[in-house]
């Protein structure tokens, strides 16, 4: 698969490929297997928040081998156009019932955890049997809200990333890999930070970990 050069005029500010398509797919398959084991015999529903999670959700869903449903939420994000509203707005609510069911919230990337905390509180109000989190990328350097995540794809350095559903001003979602972005005006990453992305902490020496099976 051709990987565009960062010099491509069609992909300005795009830096190095952080996670290749092959590595992404291998990790998603491993997560799918771990989730299938952890939720075997349980009424599982995956819930994602649009739009960044769409590629990860599509691949993860197909990597799960047990019966599973899927649903999506959409919320407004904090920013110049929204902070005047004063509070987050729910743009699309769940369509499937989650009460008494095992909900696995699927995220593309978790950093501050502020929006995730809001979303988990929203879902928890529907009284699911369990509510856990699966994140493809974890950027703990920016964490504000303490979070426990059962399934994590990769722990990543403090860099801006796009691709595999994640955007910069609605572009780059279609990239089949995750790449570093260097948009103008954004703070440079500290030199002491690792440039190596690693699979998240595993329970064993494989990349298919399941830290905390649901209760």
């Amino acid at each position: 698969m051709a990987v565009p050069s960062q010099e491509s005029p069609e992909l300005p500010h795009l830096g190095d490929v952080l996670i290749s398509p092959d590595r992404l797919q291998a990790r998603v398959q491993a997560l799918g297997a771990a989730i299938s084991d952890a939720y075997a015999g349980k009424d599982l529903i995956l819930v994602g928040v649009l739009k960044g999670v769409l590629c990860f959700m599509a691949d993860l869903l197909r990597a799960i081998t047990i019966p599973v449903e899927v649903d999506f939420l959409s919320i407004s994000g904090y920013g110049p156009g929204e902070r005047g509203h004063g509070e987050v707005r729910l743009l699309k609510d769940l369509e499937r019932p989650v009460e008494g069911r095992h909900v696995l919230f699927v995220e593309d990337i978790v950093d501050t955890g502020l929006s995730l905390a809001y979303l988990l509180r929203h879902i928890r109000s529907r009284e699911p049997a369990t509510l856990e989190v699966c994140a493809l990328l974890d950027r703990p350097r920016r964490r504000i809200m303490p979070l426990n995540m059962c399934f994590v794809g990769f722990e990543m350095p403090d860099v801006w990333v796009v691709g595999y559903g994640m955007d910069y001003r609605e572009r780059y979602r279609n990239l089949p890999y995750i790449a570093v972005l260097h948009p103008p005006g954004r703070p440079e990453v500290s030199s002491e930070q690792s440039e190596v992305i690693v699979p998240a902490q595993c329970a064993d020496d494989s990349e298919a970990e399941n830290k905390t099976p649901p209760g």
């Binding site: 994000g77 904090y78 920013g79 110049p80 929204e82 902070r83 004063g86 509070e87 987050v88 950093d111 501050t112 502020l114 929006s115 905390a117 809001y118 509180r121 920016r142 504000i144 809200m145 303490p146 403090d158 005006g185 954004r186 703070p187 500290s190």
Partner: protein
């Protein structure tokens, strides 16, 4: 030090509206409000040192307390030369109050947060230049 009037709905424990020491604090409060995260502004002053007569000679009042997370947040976005001083205070606080959880958000962290939310154009006003304002308390 300039006090910034607030449009934030939360109040101090004594009922007064918060008067933020720096625009970055007001923006952070607005962000917490946006995501319905309960907070208090400078609710606690931790004594770090007393003299032999028991008088307080050093204390530390973290900027925010996130109620549901039982977490204090200290924003230090203005004078970065204060960072080592703040870190020393936080280390001392953790020695004296090991059950208190606190996170320091520095200028770089806050700048990245602003860019994440598309507020890069406002960053100079919210973060300030290196030596304007005074985050010291």
């Amino acid at each position: 030090m300039t006090a910034h009037a607030s449009s934030i709905t939360h109040r101090r424990p004594n009922g007064d509206p918060p008067h933020f020491a720096h625009p970055s604090e007001e923006e952070f409060a607005r962000l917490l409000d946006f995501y319905h995260i309960p907070w208090e502004y400078e609710p606690t002053s931790f004594v770090l040192e007393r003299d032999k007569d028991g008088n307080v000679i050093e204390a530390f009042s973290p900027d925010f307390y996130l109620v549901d997370q039982d977490l204090y947040i200290e924003l230090t976005t203005a004078r970065q030369k204060l960072i080592p001083h703040k870190r020393r205070k936080i280390r001392r606080l953790q020695e004296l109050y090991p059950n208190v959880h606190i996170k320091l958000i520095n200028r770089e962290d806050f700048g990245k947060m602003l860019h994440k939310y598309g507020l890069e154009d406002e960053a100079p006003n919210l973060v300030g230049t290196v030596d304007n304002g005074d985050g010291e308390k």
